[in-house]
Symmetry: C2
Subunit: 326 residues, 2 copies
């Protein structure tokens, strides 16, 4: 068993080295920077060598590993949950942020102060963790994106799937550090990105342990427990991982502190942001967008020489041709 | 690099199979139960086969992986911190729980309501995470246990170190799920048990992200964030790991819900408790002890047929002969 696993891992590693491990990336600066960094930290004897157990790579999710327009997909999941729960909550028809959400006015929802947290509390609670996980998995594989018509699990970025696999083949441990809901992500990210649930850091609500007919369950409560965004991302990294990343990839101001925290460690570091500048193949938005605002983090990236990836110029393809690869 | 790592892993796995992987265990029922369980879940084609990524094993720390008498070692660390901080806090000399702690009256400290949380708030805050980690590492390797005279990092259980390595050699991912402080444990458990920081679940205080001279730091605050004990252990497993363990080892009532949560999953399961019944080589305590109380969880273990390990009968040796092995 063990021997078989090892030989498979070895075969994969050999293939990765023989072929281009990042075929969906153009041969532009970011791809070269990735190869250079990985070589630098994995070359034994080099002054920048990093032990495998310290090769921690953190990735934001929304806008970094999968798309986030016209609104974070988790909000679209909330909309479908609100619709499903409406018979028990007829008052939602006339109460915000539910009314705007039901009217598919995502602009209004995104603008509303506390709009998303209120929806999260209403739609992500009163359900036990196992059932919630099944619900999300079903939704993400069957519900369709409003403009592309793809199942949401196919709205992932092919170049990033390749990058995750390439890093893992080089001894990195890949983590998600996202403002999105931790239980929401954990149900499908292993299938989509090969990232196991224990390597997902996200926002979360409180849980209550209960015995139901003698069987323990964990009930999701409407109170927020942790918001994994902005400074919360540096806190989340310490809280859940307890080791500073050497590699961090984000796309918005919410990722700024994750990149700062990564950059502040000693030794070689890799910090990068995805710039959504491809209106044709994806979406184009940055400083003025309410979703995935890239403004202050962009300025800091320019000032500090962090990589700013252009989707248009640096990625050969955006989405996987069919279902996402693992 | 990769090839070398793989061949080392393979060599270790072969050695483990050729020799007895648990030499510090007597050939009694618990050892046999461990071998049977591991064979059952790793044998491909078996109806109880568990995929490697789902082989999650969780271990309590105090009283399960290392000793906990005369009081949790983290409290002894607090005592030394209180002594070090006393010049800045002369009022502690006449205020509880500090006064009892300074007088080494551990019985009084253990009895005091909120005694340990108050000490934790006072001694584990006002310091940044990196400095705290260094402080703990220095303490655990140099401070001596009051009765054995060993450095605390050598108060670990040799049979458990072997068990952790054996599980990992069989594709398990080993986690600590402890009521102890998460930052306290993370600094030394990789050295002691081979468990990396990201596989440690524990109690924690809140953190604040700050820029000091432009450099980001995480300041430890005196407010508790999460208590990973009793029902909190099931919650902590969901929060930090997000996947239900198939194997759980504890020693006290604080571990009861972790074992219940583990037992409630489908498929083969392994639940066990360490019973401290060896007054000669370690300590003997259970139902009436304030430290590591084993009462309700013991009754449930008997009722449900979980393993109750006798330190006296089932372990050939208790502590490692010299420094702990990795």
């Amino acid at each position: 068993m063990k021997a078989k696993l090892i030989s498979v891992a070895f075969a994969v590693a050999s293939v990765v080295r023989a072929q281009d491990p990042l075929p969906s990336w153009n041969d532009t600066a970011p791809k070269k920077a990735i190869f250079d960094f990985v070589e630098q930290v994995t070359k034994e004897g080099s002054s920048d060598f990093v032990k495998p157990e310290e090769r921690i790579a953190t990735f934001d999710n929304d806008g970094t590993l999968w798309a986030e327009q016209p609104i974070y997909f988790q909000v679209l999941f909330m909309r479908d949950r609100v619709k499903a729960l409406l018979p028990q909550h007829p008052e939602w028809k006339h109460r915000e942020p539910f009314a705007s959400l039901l009217g598919d006015d995502m602009r209004a929802v995104a603008k509303m102060k506390e709009g998303i947290p209120k929806l999260m509390a209403a739609t992500h609670s009163g359900i036990i963790t196992d059932e919630f996980s099944e619900l999300v998995m079903k939704w993400v594989t069957t519900a369709k994106h409003p403009t592309t018509g793809r199942p949401f699990i196919e709205m992932v970025y092919q170049p990033m799937i390749e990058l995750l696999a390439y890093l893992r083949a080089n001894g990195f441990k890949t983590f998600i550090v996202s403002g999105g809901g931790i239980d929401f992500m954990r149900s499908w990210v292993e299938k989509a990105y090969g990232i196991p649930p224990e390597q997902v850091v996200g926002s979360s609500g409180k849980l209550r342990f209960q015995l139901r007919d003698g069987k323990p369950v964990l009930l999701k409560l409407p109170e927020m427990d942790f918001v994994d965004n902005y400074a919360g991302k540096a806190v989340g990294i310490q809280k859940f991982i307890g080791r500073r990343p050497i590699f961090a990839f984000g796309n918005s101001d919410g990722d700024q502190q994750m990149l700062e925290w990564t950059a502040a460690g000693s030794g070689a570091r890799f910090m990068a942001l995805v710039h959504h500048d491809d209106a044709e193949r994806e979406w184009a938005y940055d400083r003025k967008s309410r979703i995935g605002t890239l403004d202050k983090a962009w300025d800091e990236a320019i000032a500090k020489g962090w990589i700013v990836l252009s989707m248009k110029d640096d990625w050969k393809t955006i989405f996987p041709p069919t279902g996402p690869k693992q």
